[in-house]
Amino acid sequence: MINLINHFNRDRHAPLLSGMHADRKRLFVDRLKWDIRHDGLFERDEFDNDEAAYLVLADRETQEHQASVRLLRTDRPHILGNIFPELCEIELPAGPEYREITRLCYAPRTRRAERIRYRNLIGRSLIEYAHFTGLRGYTLVTEMALLGQILSAGWSCRPLGLPRDIGGSTIGALLITIEPWTLRRMSPSWQTESVPMRVVEFGEPLAA
C-alpha cells in the first residue's frame, strides 16, 4: 500500500511518518554518512514542511514504514534550486508542473530482494502520481553511483548539468520526464503490479 501524505492528512499518518524519519536517519546519517541535520533519532530538515508531499510504502499488516520518497515543489525552496544550484547549467525546470524527488529511502532492515520490489513500487507510484496531478516531470539531485540504476528504469532522463565532486562524492542533477507512455515503456526489471494508492484523504478540504 502506497500512502500519499501531505499536510492535510499527515496527522492521521503520524506513526508512519515517524517511522519514515527514523529510517531516513538510519539510512542517510548512520549508513551513508551524509552530513545532514538530525536529532539522534529522526532525520528531518527545513524542507519537511507544509509544502512537502510523501509517497510512503507501508507494510499491509503492521503499517510499518518500508520505503518512501519526498516530493518538493520546485516553485518553492528545494534542494536543486537552493542548495546545489550550480548543478543545473540550463534553465531550471521549475513550476507547478515539476516536483523534485528527494530522500528516496528504504527501511535499512530491508532484504535485498525486497529492496528491488520497493524500488519498483515507488517508481511506479511516481509515474502514477505525475499522471494524477498533471506533472510533466521530476528533477532530482543524485550521486552518480546511482545513475545507471536510475537509467535502467527505461524512463526519459536527461542531465541538467555536468556532475561535480561535492563532499567526497560525485553528484549531479537529472530531469525525468513523465509521458503518457512512460509506464508502458518501463523496462521489465522495473515492472511491478499496479500500486494500490490511497488518495482518498488527499486534497484541500471542500469547506473550512
Binding site: 547549467e89 540550463i90 532484504r111 535485498r112 530482494a113 529492496r115 528491488i116 550521486e143 552518480m144 553511483a145 546511482l146 545513475l147 545507471g148 540504476q149 537509467l151 535502467s152 527505461g154 536527461r158 542531465p159 548539468g161 555536468l162 556532475p163 561535480r164 565532486d165 562524492s169 560525485t170 549531479g172 523496462s187 521489465p188 526489471s189
Partner: protein
C-alpha cells in the same frame, strides 16, 4: 561540455543498432578528450557469440582480439576494481580497490604496450543483471580536466543503458542465469559463511530446503561445487561483493 553530452543523449534516443552506437560513442569520446573506449558486459567474451552480449570497443584490434582469446576479462584489474565501486574512477586509483598481483601488473604492461596508457572507468551495476562498464582510454599520459571526467561519467552511464537496451532488446533479465529470490537468499547466506542449518534458521525454512535451493542453483549454473556457485552468482550480479563483506 554539457551540450556535447546532451547531443549524444539525443542521438542515443534514435539509435537502434550497435554499429550506430559504436560510431556515436566513438565521436563523443573524442570530443570529451579521450581516444578509445570499451563498452562491455563483464562476461566470458569467448563463450558468447557476437551480438549476444554488449561488447563494443575502439581499442586497437590486436589488443581486443588478444583480450577476448585470453579471457582477460576475468582478471583485468580495471574491471575487477569496477566491481568494488559504483563510482567512476581513474585507472591510477585501481590499487585503492583491489590488491594488485603480478598477473595484474603483467596485463597492465601489455595494455600500455598496446598503446593504452591511462583511462577512466564508469562501472555499471544494475541489480539482478551482469556487471558491466564503460571504459574510456587515453593513448598518451596527458592529464584531462575534471570536467572531462565528469562528462565521461554521464556518457558512460547513458551509453551502457542504450547498449544493453539494443543488445538485449529490453529483456535485461535474459542475460545472467536465473535464480529465484529464495535461491539468492540462500547463496547470499552461504557466501557469508552460514551453514545450511543456520541459513534455514535465519530464513525460517528447513535445513533440507536450504540444501535443495543451493543444489538447484548449482544445477542451473551447471557447476559441481558451492564455491563455484558463489563465484558465478557474484559474477552475474546476483550478489555484490559489498553485500557479503560488511
Amino acid at each position: 561540455m554539457l551540450d556535447v553530452v546532451q547531443l549524444f543523449i539525443d542521438i542515443l534516443g534514435r539509435i537502434t543498432n550497435v554499429v550506430d552506437l559504436r560510431d556515436a560513442l566513438d565521436a563523443v569520446v573524442k570530443e570529451i578528450g579521450f581516444d578509445y573506449f570499451a563498452l562491455m558486459e563483464h562476461v566470458d567474451l569467448a563463450r558468447h557469440a557476437s551480438g549476444e552480449i554488449l561488447f563494443l570497443t575502439t581499442y586497437p584490434s590486436a589488443w581486443a582480439d588478444f583480450y577476448i582469446a585470453k579471457q582477460i576479462v576475468s582478471n583485468d584489474p580495471v574491471l575487477l576494481a569496477s566491481h568494488r565501486t559504483s563510482n567512476g574512477f581513474r585507472w591510477s586509483a585501481v590499487s585503492d580497490f583491489i590488491p594488485i598481483s603480478a598477473a595484474h601488473r603483467a596485463i597492465r604492461e601489455r595494455t600500455i604496450k598496446a598503446g593504452i596508457i591511462d583511462g577512466f572507468t564508469v562501472p555499471a551495476h544494475i541489480p539482478g543483471t551482469a556487471h558491466g562498464s564503460c571504459n574510456f582510454a587515453l593513448g598518451s599520459g596527458r592529464i584531462l580536466a575534471p570536467t572531462n571526467y565528469h562528462a565521461a561519467q554521464l556518457v558512460g552511464s547513458f551509453a551502457f543503458e542504450a547498449g544493453r537496451r539494443i543488445v538485449h532488446n529490453g529483456d535485461r533479465t535474459a542475460m545472467p542465469t536465473k535464480l529465484t529470490p529464495r535461491m539468492i537468499d540462500c547463496v547470499f547466506l552461504a557466501a557469508c559463511g552460514k551453514t545450511d542449518w543456520e541459513a534455514g534458521t535465519i530464513l525460517g525454512i528447513a535445513e533440507d530446503t536450504v540444501t535443495e535451493y543451493l543444489d538447484e542453483a548449482r544445477r542451473r549454473y551447471d557447476v559441481g561445487h558451492r564455491s563455484q556457485l558463489l563465484m558465478r552468482a557474484l559474477f552475474d550480479g546476483h550478489l555484490a561483493i559489498s553485500d557479503v563483506i560488511r
